[in-house]
Each structure stands twice: as structure tokens, then as C-alpha cells.
Amino acid sequence: MTTGTMTQSRKAIGAVALLALAAVLPLAVTEPSQQNFLILILMGAQMGVAWNIVGGYAGQVSLGHAVFYGIGAYTSTMLLVSLGISPWIGAVAGGLVAALFALAMGWPCFRLKGHYFAMATIAVAEIMQILVTNSDLLEGAVGLTLPMDRSGWGALIFLAKLPYYYLILGLLVLTVAVAWAIERSHIGYYFRAIKDEPEAARALGVSLTRYKLIALSVSAFLTALGGSFYAQKEMFIDPGSVFATTVSIKIALIAILGGVGTLLGPVLGAVILITIEEYSRTLFGSTGSGTDMIIYAAMIILVAVFSPSGVLGLLSDLRRHIGRRLPGGTKTAKADKLEVRP
């Protein structure tokens, strides 16, 4: 029991140190394009952590998360552009719309299991993209442009990169905090029970549909916040950029690559995936021969083959491996074992 508390406090120290590092990082990285790169990583991490709540903990793999991302982006932007409502309110509104949409979508879709659920989510996202593309109200395929003349914390539009960095860092912390709270609460145990043994969970009186819906709507809410941030940062949205299938795939890929069902796995996944994506493009993209995409794909395949439980799984295996050789290393292994037991 004492070792458990010790690990807890050690983890808390680690988390605070990590956060402090993230907070001061822009002081060292001052070039805007490098800061932009950090923002992209944090955006990816936030999406991945949000996805992980339903895709990782509850084990319901969604390949249609772009639908929530897009709803978030469109709701806050429409409110800002047509009614002049601050994105602070718009983003929350977008989150609520996305959560409601998740409930409406989850109710029929959760009747499907496994791959069929994943396929249904792809279909919903595709339908949504087509609907928005043909909607006059939302300017269809032309897209929405955010007003550039309104900058500042009220409109959440900035000329510098730094405010965006701290905004997305804050959003990531919020998302991780929600995921952490869920992980520790009884809901988190229900989620994992639903993932591992749905029949047993049902036999113990856990309402499968209810908790799956909770997982999806919380995940949708957070994903939509990420979508609103995208709109504020890029200042232009169209169905092809926020409702695209590639967005859905990327969200899922980040979490899967980093480590499904782990708190910080998606953060690590985002660091790796976005780094590969950006640098392979910077280095090889301008050749026009597709080298960057080949390297990008090869890296993902490497991780998938050698570490199917994600990079975080790889790291913890390494740690255990090294730990066993060092004197006293077995203690760490025991502590791990104690901790994962519900």
C-alpha cells in the first residue's frame, strides 16, 4: 500500500515537472514556425486524449471523430461570424452540440459491435461532411473565414503564436484532467469492464449503452473544443478541412500509436506522429516524389509491428526489462502490478 502511494506521489511530481517544462518551453523556442510545430503537437495530443476516453478506456473504436471536431469548429465560428458571440462561449456551445449529437448518434450506433461500430462512425462522418458541403447556411464548400480585424482575448484571435500555445496547453491539461478523473472513478472501471468483458459487465449490472454513451459524449465534447481551437488558429474552415476522414484517422492514429487506454499515451503518440509528419514533409516534401509520405507510413508500420500496444507500451516494457536487471528493480514491477489492479 505504501509503495502504491509513493508511486502516486512520484507520478504527481512527474506530471507537475512535465507541465512546468511545457509552460516554459516557448521561452526557449522562440521562432514562430517552431512554436507552431509545438502547437500542432499539443493539438494532436488533445485530440488523441479526447478520443482515448471512448476509443481507449471504453474500447469503442470510433473512426468518425471528425464529426465532433467539425461541429465544434463550425458552431463557434458561426456564432462568432454571424452573431459576434465570443468563442469562449461558442466553444462551450460547440461542445454541447457535439455531445448531444454524440448521444443521438451513439444510441443507434452502439447497437453495433466492434468493427461494425467503427464502420458506422465512418458513415456518420461522411454523411455529415456531405450535408455541410451542401448547406447554404454554413456557406457550403466555400467555407467560413474568421474576421481578422478582431484580435485579442475576447475574440481569441492573435497575431502572435504564444497565446495559441498557452490556450491549447490549457485545453490539453483540461482534457487530460477529465481523462484522469474518469480513469480513477467508478465510471473508468465500468468503461474498462465494458471493453474487456461486456457480457460480464452486463451481468454485474453495468448498463452497457448508458456508459458507452457517457464515454462518447464526453469524448465528443472535448474533441469539439479542439475543433473550435482549430478554427481560431487557422481562421478559415471548410468541410474538407474539419470534417474530412483524414482528420478522423489522424485522431485515432495518435491514440493508437501512443498507447490505447493509457492516460499519456496519446500525448506521446502526438509527439512522435506530428514530428514525423512535419519533418518528413519539410525535408522531402518539396521534391514532389512522395518520399515524405513513404517515410511517414514506414514509421507507423514499424511502430505497429514492433509495438502493437503503442509506444508507451514499448517504453514500459523497456523499463521493466532494465528494472529486472538492476537490484531492487523487481519492486517497480510489483508496484506496477498493484496499481493496475482495480
Binding site: P32, S33, N36, F37, L40, G59, T133, N134, G140, V142, G143, T145, M148, L159, K195, D196, Y230, E234, M235, F236, D238, G240, S241, V260, G261, I272, T275, I276, E278, Y279, S280, R281, T282, L283, G285, S286, G288, G290, D292, M293, I295, M299, L302, V303, F306, S307, P308, S309, G310, V311, G313, L314, D317, L318, R320, H321, A333, D336, K337, V340
Partner: protein, 450 residues
């Protein structure tokens, strides 16, 4: 004990992991994983090292963003080749064709060379803005050009606007791009609204020329965004210019049956049909027209399916005399020796002729280089001012335009589309009359007279 960790991970991957563990000895497995991790790290580190390469001071750096990978990669590579040809001409690597306005040799900048730095946006607006930011802040470009896709141009130019760097767009036609009141955005190509407007001007010109009444028009458009937008604009313009819409049909884009639609058109019998179709429906509509023995005096197609290289292959003689809009046509080379010369250079270098996209990409770089030379400086403010003062006559361009001159929104107000007609299996320019290479065949001969 080894499996304690898997409990928190996905149950879907757990069996795979177990299998792997059974098959591979522990050490080897960890070794291979370490190699994989090392490979990951190596790429990242390599990227970090080479990202900020050294640069010469006497070159003028221009960032160019195109879709070099992804679905539009083949177009992107063509655009890149055209931009590189323009740069080679500006830098006097190849002899410049006489008359071309492109700041050749950069006389006002002591013969400095321009260097194009390409960024790949993969057809993704966010990647477009990321690349724009990288080109501006780490590659220190003096100006940006690109990005072909309208939505990518929207995000990339927005970054340029924030940093106060001129962005010259040569190929995106969404009308909204120049309605944003941007200070640093310039566009040489005409936009979509102008193309539709051209049809009505063309009809008025044809009325004057033939003395016929062409006021009754039929709209026949497909029902996705493009067709719907076109229908709206055509309806508005018809009213403004006093044309009557005899029939307006919006059909499902993937239809397999057009008999009832064509019968309605036949009953309304308009003098002119304006049609927006993709390839499949363009062919189907032509077959149905023939079956029902119907043809208007003129069939005005809105590019797309009717200009696809497959269209004439499938239609053969039945595709003759169709009129369509275009941005550029190869027969322009017959009219203008400058276009011929530049096209020959393009073919020598890349083995292909210009098309509407690559000709516009070439023009964008040429116009930008001209402005930088006149600015006599690589300062963004000076370049912006020179762009605003741009006034290139038609003779200095390879485009069928009246010239290049930007209005307050940065839109080239002298740009125009052209109208081509299929004559003897070729698309020939028939309008505007001053750049036409052949007269219009009017009216379209009836099916039985072919």
C-alpha cells in the same frame, strides 16, 4: 508477471502481443523494439539538424506552396515545373523570350537571382498554413505564391497577411478569396463569378454579330455545390442582363437517365443551353440529346466534363461544335508567338505542353518577379507597393487576358476567361474575338445535318 501491464491496454491487441511473446525470445524482441525506437529518434534528430539550412544573401527567396503529394500531386508537379521554368527565365538560365514581362535579369536588384523554395501542402488547409509559416519565418522568403486549392490558399494567405508578406495567387478561382479585404493578397487569375459573367457577355457579343435573338436560355446544371452555385449566379445575371430563363433544371449528379430532363428542355426550346456537368453526365446528356433529336443554337458548357480529355474520345464527331469556357488553350500559341516560344521551352524542359493550370502558375511567378524587380528591394512593403502598381499589357503575358492590374482587393481586373469550341476534334479559342483563332460555328448543325 510479464502480462500485468497488458491489463490496462486494449484487449484487441492483447492476443497479438501474447502471440508475439510466445514466438520471440524476450531479448530479441526488446532488441528489435529498441531498433525501431532508435530509427524513430534518428529521423527526428536528422530533421532537427537540417531544418534551418544556410542561405546566400544575394538571392531573392520566394516560397511556393503546391500540392506535391496526395490526390492532386500530378497537377502539383506540373505547377512546380511551370514555376521553375519562370524562375529559370528570370535568372537568365535560359534565353528569355522577347516581350515577356517577368523582371528578367532583375536589373533593379543588380542582377540578383530568385530562388523558389517549395512547400508541399498535400491538399490540406492546415498543412498549407503550417508551410506558409515555415517559409516565412524559417526560410525568410520575401513573398509567397500558390496554392492551387482555394481552401489552402485561404489558410496560407491568412498566415501571410498576419506576417505582412505579399501572397500572389495564380490558380485559385473561389470568388470569396478576394472579398476578404486583405492587404497582402493578390490574385492574377479571374475567379468563378467572372467565368459565368463571361457567358452573358459572349451571348451579347454573338447577338450583335449575328443579329439573332439569344435571350431565351435554358439552365441545365448538376446538383452538387458547383452546379447549385452556378445556377444561382446564372439566374441572378440573367435577370440583370435581361435574359429570360425558359427552363431551369437541376439534375442529380450521378443520374443514369436524362430522358425526362431533356424532354423538358426540348419542350421549352431555348436558343441557348448553359450546362454544368461532370464527365459521365456530360456524355449521357449528349447521347440523350441525340436520341431525342434536340439541339439548341448554342450549347455553352461550363468547363469540367466537357473539357475532359475523355469526353471527345468517347463522343467523337457527336462532340463537335460544343462551346465551353476555359482559362487557356494551346491554340493561343498559333495566335501569339510569345506563347509559342514559352510553350516550346516548357516542352523542352518537361516534355509537356502548358495547360490552364501550369500557364497560370508560370504567370504568377513572372508577375511576382516583375514586381520584385520594380520594387528594387526584397522588403515586403516595397514588393507590395510594386504589386499594387503592376500594369502589364496583354502583349507581355502568355495568358489570353487584357493584362494584369490589381484592384483594391488584390484581384486582377484585366483577367478574363476564354470560350473554346470543338472544331475538327480540337478545342479552339472563339471568344473574346480579339484573341480568337477561329470564328464561331453558329448555329450548331442539327443532328440530321451532320
Amino acid at each position: 508477471m510479464r502480462f500485468t501491464g497488458t491489463k490496462t491496454r486494449s484487449s484487441a491487441t492483447a492476443p497479438v502481443r501474447r502471440q508475439l511473446t510466445r514466438q520471440m525470445p524476450v531479448r530479441r524482441r526488446t532488441m528489435t523494439r529498441m531498433i525501431a525506437a532508435a530509427a524513430l529518434l534518428a529521423t527526428t534528430a536528422l530533421g532537427g539538424l537540417t531544418a534551418g539550412a544556410a542561405r546566400a544573401e544575394d538571392e531573392i527567396r520566394i516560397g511556393v506552396i503546391y500540392p506535391l503529394t496526395g490526390a492532386a500531386a500530378s497537377t502539383g508537379v506540373e505547377l512546380k515545373a511551370a514555376a521553375e521554368l519562370a524562375a529559370a527565365i528570370v535568372n537568365k538560365e535560359i534565353p528569355a523570350p522577347a516581350g515577356l514581362v517577368a523582371g528578367v535579369g532583375m536589373p533593379h536588384l543588380k542582377g540578383a537571382k530568385i530562388k523558389l523554395i517549395f512547400g508541399d501542402h498535400q491538399g490540406n488547409p492546415q498543412v498549407g498554413s503550417t508551410e506558409a509559416e515555415r517559409l516565412i519565418t524559417s526560410e525568410k522568403v520575401s513573398a509567397l505564391a500558390g496554392a492551387y486549392f482555394s481552401n489552402v490558399t485561404a489558410t496560407a494567405s491568412q498566415v501571410a497577411e498576419r506576417y505582412g508578406v505579399p501572397f500572389l495567387n495564380g490558380e485559385s478561382s473561389s470568388a470569396t478569396l478576394t472579398q476578404r479585404k486583405f492587404k497582402w493578397f493578390f490574385r492574377t487569375t479571374p475567379h468563378d463569378d467572372l467565368f459565368v459573367t463571361n457567358f452573358f457577355t459572349f451571348l451579347e457579343d454573338m447577338e450583335k454579330k449575328t443579329g439573332d435573338n439569344l435571350r431565351g436560355i435554358g439552365l441545365f446544371n448538376e446538383n452538387t455545390l458547383w452546379g447549385n452555385e452556378t445556377t444561382k449566379l446564372q439566374t441572378k445575371l440573367a435577370e440583370e442582363r435581361k435574359f429570360t430563363i425558359a427552363e431551369k433544371i437541376v439534375y442529380p449528379a450521378k443520374t443514369t437517365q436524362m430522358t425526362s430532363e431533356v424532354q423538358r428542355l426540348k419542350a421549352a426550346n431555348p436558343a441557348v443551353i448553359m450546362q454544368s456537368s461532370y464527365l459521365g453526365d456530360a456524355i449521357l446528356s449528349m447521347k440523350t440529346y441525340k436520341e431525342l433529336g434536340f439541339l439548341p443554337k448554342m450549347l455553352l458548357a461550363n468547363d469540367a466534363g466537357f473539357n475532359d480529355s475523355e469526353f471527345l474520345k468517347t463522343m467523337g464527331k457527336d462532340g463537335e461544335d460544343i462551346i465551353s469556357r476555359e482559362v487557356w488553350a494551346l491554340d493561343q500559341a498559333d495566335r501569339n508567338p510569345l506563347i509559342r516560344q514559352v510553350n516550346d521551352l516548357m516542352r523542352e524542359r518537361s516534355g509537356v505542353n502548358f495547360n490552364g493550370n501550369s500557364a497560370r502558375a508560370f504567370t504568377a511567378i513572372a508577375v511576382l518577379a516583375d514586381a520584385i524587380d520594380r520594387a528594387g528591394s526584397t522588403q515586403p512593403d516595397a514588393i507590395r507597393k510594386a504589386l499594387q502598381e503592376t500594369d502589364i499589357p496583354a502583349a507581355g503575358l502568355i495568358m489570353p487576358w487584357k493584362g494584369v492590374k490589381f484592384d483594391a482587393n488584390g484581384q486582377n481586373e484585366l483577367g478574363q476567361g476564354i470560350i473554346v469550341q470543338v472544331q475538327n476534334g480540337q478545342y479552339v479559342t472563339v471568344w473574346p474575338f480579339d484573341v480568337a483563332t477561329k470564328p464561331v460555328v453558329y448555329p450548331m448543325p442539327a443532328w440530321d445535318g451532320r
